[in-house]
Amino acid sequence: MIVVLCWFGTASFAGAADPPLSPTNIFAPASTPANTIFGLSVFVLAVTATIFVVVFSLLAYAVVRFRKRTDDDGREPPQVYGSNQVELAWTVIPVLIVVALFMATARVIGSVQKAAQPSNAIEVIAIGHQFWWEYRYPALHVVTANELHVPVSDPEHPTPTFIRLLSADTDHSFWVPRLNGKTDLIPNHPNSMWIDPHETGLYLGQCAQYCGTQHAKMLLRVYVQTRDEFDRWIQEQGQPAHLSDTASEGQHIFETTACINCHAVAGTVADGRFGPDLSHLMSRDTIAAGAVPNTAENLRRWIRNPDAIKPGSRMPAMELSDRELDAVTAYLTTLR
Amino acid sequence: MSANVMTMPQRERTWELPSRGHVAMFALIVAESAIFVIFVVAYLFYLGKSLTGPTPKQVLEAPIFYSICLLSSSITIHLAVKALRAGDIRTFRAWWFGTIALGAAFLYGTAHEWHRLIYKDGLTISTNLFGTTYYSLVGLHGFHVIVGLICLSTVMAFALLGDVQQQHTYRVDVLSLYWHFVDVVWVVVFTVVYIIGR
């Protein structure tokens, strides 16, 4: 098992951009808190590996050396009842190890949990729902869902993103391993965490606290962009939804069926907050919190019967006819 | 090998160990205390956190008289056991009955207080956090009083039939330990609810 650990540990050091073993490898940190945790974990692994080698060897030696031989004379070996010196030795040494481990750990807790929020930090409020993620950028007047965009952070001049974690229903947990450890989203118990990704790219994760039937498909996608790309994205997300003449039938169905009770489309009458904001739905790569790619076909499948893609999701099947489905899908695909 | 038992050397010195009944009752008290501690912790944690509704200050009146009844019943039960140990069955019966009466009075007081809280002050277990923690903590204690009274009444019935004699002191004493525990819990609950909590 140790061999396995060493092997993939070294493999993950190489190639930080897309680690060969996994896009969610905790040993491939791409952000300061993840890095700090990684440093501590290497220390802890080194200490525990040493203890393992020492004790394992002693055990293995004892089992081999002191086995009953076939030519045994049947006499009992010398009875040794104890030894105060030995007991003292193997009490003091573990205590010292604990002190060392504890001090290293306490320092990292402080540096990650008590990091001060700089004035140039991007502020995001993440609200966990069954089974999707709501993201708000209060200072930037953006509300979106399921795909979080943040600017890349230069270690010399950091621009971290500080995320406030809330929940609309049960407990959830935000875990993007390459960016930070996980922090839970608990109703009536606001939490916060921060990330400062050093490289652009897409970082994956998923909900890590069992929250109900579709806990497994509450996926996380964090898009780390250059500052310019991020600012552009913010600008686009802040616009009201595109109006389109060709999709007016679909928009009419959308607004007269119960859709608007749950969903919002900025600049129209739809302002429901129970489900994801759809104003810029087509700017996302996936739907249903990462469950399937965002194509017209998948959209149509989803609206027809969400349970076909994500059984137990909170969106009911709206019993639309094929024509209505086509129209609504056509409307939604205009929401860039 | 046959069913031979290897005999061990016999000893003459006396070998004294604690009595089963007392040890078991202490163990039960420890377990029950663990349950009460959690309800007390919940009560203290939620003090001042109710979003609505009546507050402790607004509606709670310390039940001093009924608490004195309950705490006195510890004295009466102690006297009852003492009398039984001395072989005085009649005195035992009198003090035992007094204990039950005082315990029943306490329960009546609780019922009276709850009636007022529910119907006059509008405080129920579902009103707010205060209602939730108050009724569950005081109710849990009251439940233990009821169980105690049932046990005490059973002994009373046997006593009236003449079946409780001096040789039963040990068992009655173990039962009285439970009753003392119920009283100690009330001291804690009273302090937390009517003194600290207000």
């Binding site: 098992m1 396995v4 993939f8 073993l21 905790i26 040993f27 700090t36 974990s41 525990t48 055990l59 004892a62 002191f66 031989r69 040794v80 009842y81 104890g82 030894s83 007991e87 290293a104 750990t105 306490a106 807790i109 229903d169 407990d171 391993p177 450890g181 996980k182 608990i186 118990h189 994760g205 890590a208 606290q209 069992y210 497994a216 996926l219 059984p311 | 090998m1 031979n4 038992v5 005999t7 000893r11 070998w15 160990l17 604690p18 009595s19 078991a24 377990a31 029950e32 663990a34 349950i35 919940a42 944690f45 956190k49 109710s50 129920t124 277990i125 579902s126 956090l129 939730t132 569950s136």
Partner: protein
Amino acid sequence: MSTDSIALPGSYEASRPLVDRLHEWVTTVDHKRLGILYILFALFFLVVGGIEATIMRIQLIRPQNDFVSPEVFNRMFTMHGTTMIFFVAMPLVFGFANYLVPLMIGARDMAFPRLNAFSFWLSAFGGLLLYFSLVGANGLYGAGNAPDVGWFAYAPLTAQTFSRGHSTDFWTLAVLVSGFGSIGTAINILTTILCLRCPGMKLGKMPLLAWLNLVMAGLVLLAIGPLTAAQIMLSLDRYLGAHFFDTQAGGSAVIWMHFFWIFGHPEVYILVIPAFAVVSEIIPVFSRKAMFGYPIMVAATVAIGFLSMAVWAHHMFTVGMSSNANTFFVLSTMAIGVPTGIKIFNWLATMWGGKIHFQAPMLFCIAFLFQFLIAGLTGIMLSAAPFDWQLGNSYFVVAHFHYVIVGGILFALFGAFYYWFPKMTGRMYDETVGKLHFWLFVIGFHLTFDFMHVPGLLGMPRRIYTYEPGRGWDTWNLIVTIGVFFQGLSILIFVGNLLWSRVKGKHSGSDPWDAWTLEWTTSSPPPAYNFATIPTVKSRRPLWDLKHPEDPDWKYE
């Protein structure tokens, strides 16, 4: 299994009708029979829990599998966890304690035999109640059926809003009822050990098994109460509109976690300390040496008992506690590693310089030592809170605690099965088949649980019914699932060995292992009254003194 008296062939005893013999078992208050009932009950649920695990592992064998629906999967992990902890591990622990403690302290039975029986049947009823949820419970939207809230049932998922119907209530009530049974048994064990020891057996002369079960009983008394309280609170929330965990009314979801883990952490020590107990009896006998450092072993266990009440929030490092709180629980959790490590060293020292016999009981105990070492070390990793922020709630944690419970506790208890099987039945099990069970189980265990650490390190959370391809988790999950079949096969072989040996095994006699504690002085199986005369002892190994009158233990203790 054991009978009230030694059955002579062709006697009245052997020819009594089945109904009478069953009635005897159902109404027994004999600690030996109740112990066996607990163990049989646990073995049955071990198989049931194993089936639940197998279903989950088949579902997870490849990404986006559809062997079972998410609803079924979520019920499986809830039932698997609840069953294994409350209806396998606890009964096994209580079963062995019941059988062995009175015998090893020279008593005729437990302090309260009828309470003993009542406690067993309460626990049994709890198990029945939990599984009745599969057929009973028709709540709203037909959402009855087995509970699916996870074995630690976090709020507010358990509120009426999110868990309709009665499935959660089956969980609550089944565990609540069996909790009362556990308290009854703990009171019994504690009282028996403190009040029924035979003359000369001062507390410092008790077998380590007795000491460790005493600590376990104390922990049960302290730990079950918080769970009971939390479950009462949950039921009040669900049915009387209380707001204990109602976050809309200002209630706290976190306080459920505190209350649950104040129970939950000592609970795992309640399970592991009796495993330590049996290992502490088996290793000396099969190394032919006295236990090294008996007083330290007692002190370390008592320290573990106390410390275990102070570490619970290491299950909550990701919940958002203050850095001070996190730091405190890091310290307490790392601290508890010290006495635990001391115990491993003492077992090692017991083997050192001895003459190790490799029969099945010892094989399982040796595996225990290696595996518990690893489990403890992954525990140290998890105790470093920031590391836990990555590892927590992932398959790394699942691998860690299965390493403790299966690799540690279950292996030790298999050792106990083989060691005391001759005493309980009067017959030897088949040694070759026992070794086959051992090796198959070792292979299966390591295939499953060694490799299970890896998906955790690669970001796979727990309690997910399926996963995306392209996360790098596929191969590891496949290997993990394959190991399950080795384990299942080995359990079948184990059960077969027990059944066959019960009937056909060689007669064992009263002391087949040349051991040193009091249970080996009486016949196999023991008579109902345990001992013809209550023994008087002078040392921790009364039989050693008798067998070695020139060099008795009491000269050195």
